[in-house]
Amino acid sequence: MEYVSPEGLRLDGRRPMEMRQIRAEIGAVSKADGSAIFEMGNTKVIAAVYGPREVQNRSQQISSHALVRCEYCMANFSTGDRMRKSKGDRRSTEISLVIRQTMEACILTHLLPRSQIDIYVQVLQADGGTRSACINAATLALADAGIPMRDLVTSCSAGYLNSTPLLDLNYVEDSAGGPDVTLGILPKLDKVTLLQMDSKLPIDILENVMQLAIEGCKAIANYIREILLANTKQLEYRRGV
């Protein structure tokens, strides 16, 4: 199947180095301490953060830093055909672990000893790049909750199909079986917090694909910053400051 046309267009009309349209909204869940909705094209994710709060299970309490817990699940209606098991399967457990480890890299857990931070992420609509969208949504929700962070974590996927590096893969491109790199970075600190790859890639091509993903992450970071700054300004404006 041809994923990139001779004119250099992908199946959804994007250029190889073009991202899907992104949209974010802060404060979607009123009862949560911090929450956000993040959309990347047709992928739509909602994240809610509770904490820092008292550890519920005393045996899990860590005296030197905060306990970070993460739960990822996909809504039954998130895919074309209804999902039977949306939570607790191996894929969900693995993605929960990935999100937790990625977020732990940016949260200053040592400032909140003997407490617990819960991150709940739900995929409302899936069209490829769900774990990237989840990490971006979780970052926004953590910032909304006022949890101390080293930097914003942003994530983006990139792949290699028809001898062309592609940025921000959708479901059709993702399931084509080609290499798929998911990258998470701390943009201001220039550090990588997540790097996953399906399939194989020669090292020189991997560098190109990674560079493309980094550029995508930085573009998302700029957008997330704009959203956070706009939210702060809006609060100030409303109060007449």
Binding site: P113, M149, R150
Partner: protein, 240 residues
């Protein structure tokens, strides 16, 4: 302080900042003292932001990030509204919406001795003062002011308690008086206790007044001063 470093900070003062933003390079500073408040941290030679909000400056050398959130980070000398969740032999465990439960020693009351230990049922709402707030230990509370007098602290009977953001609770406690409280106070008679942890307690002679005051305060979070006054006027017109 060199001109470079001052400009880097003054450019960002009263500006919105995000986690990861570097607001000051200490390597360019010579023999200068600065105090860092909430939302800022020192990372080697850089002062960076760890919470989204607005960078504030207070003379001579205090910097902090002002933000609004639902959870409360305990600081010494803050007055907060707590809920008793457990009672121990030597202290009460109090929920102050912080990362951990706070301790209220049974002797931390005016004239507190082993003979007259107060009895607080679980669920009692109390107005207390934070006296110790270190990251490695549970915050410690007291029901007395700095001079050892009970003052306004203690159990709050009756009334209605609701929650708001920490930013709004600071706004309600700000000086000059917050427009919504100013407008309500001119027309209605009520008692209010605002905790810096984002809890507000309201009591009035009639439940009717209590509900009006509580709703007005809850609605005021997203309004400017002028809008708050208009909203209160409309509310009062409806109920008269």
């Amino acid at each position: 302080m060199e001109t470079k470093s001052t400009s880097s900070f003054t450019n960002l003062v009263d500006q919105s900042v995000c986690p990861g933003d570097v607001v000051l390079d200490l390597s360019k500073m010579i023999n200068q003292t600065i105090k860092l408040g909430g939302g800022l941290r020192q990372d080697c030679d850089a002062i960076s932001v760890m919470k989204a909000g607005r960078l504030r400056f207070s003379k001579p050398h205090k910097y902090w990030v002002e933000n609004s959130q639902k959870r409360y980070v305990p600081y010494a000398e803050d007055s907060v509204l707590g809920i008793v969740v457990d009672s121990r032999s030597d202290n009460f465990l109090v929920d102050i919406k912080g990362p951990t439960l706070a301790f209220l020693p049974v002797l931390a009351f005016e004239g507190g001795t082993r003979r007259n230990i107060p009895r607080f049922e679980i669920g009692t709402l109390i107005y207390v003062r934070v006296i110790k707030a270190n990251p490695g230990m549970n915050p410690e509370l007291s029901c007395t002011d700095a001079s050892g007098k009970a003052a306004e602290f203690g159990a709050l009977k009756d009334g209605y308690m609701f929650e708001c953001t920490t930013g709004q609770s600071r706004m309600l406690l700000s000086s000059p008086t917050c427009p919504v409280l100013d407008a309500l106070g001119k027309k209605l008679s009520f008692e209010i206790a605002v905790g810096l942890n984002g809890r507000v307690w309201v009591d009035a002679a009639s439940p009717h007044t209590t509900i009006v005051v509580a709703n007005a305060i809850m609605n005021s979070e997203t309004l400017s001063g002028a809008q708050q006054r208009i909203m209160v006027e409309k509310l009062l017109q409806r109920i008269q």
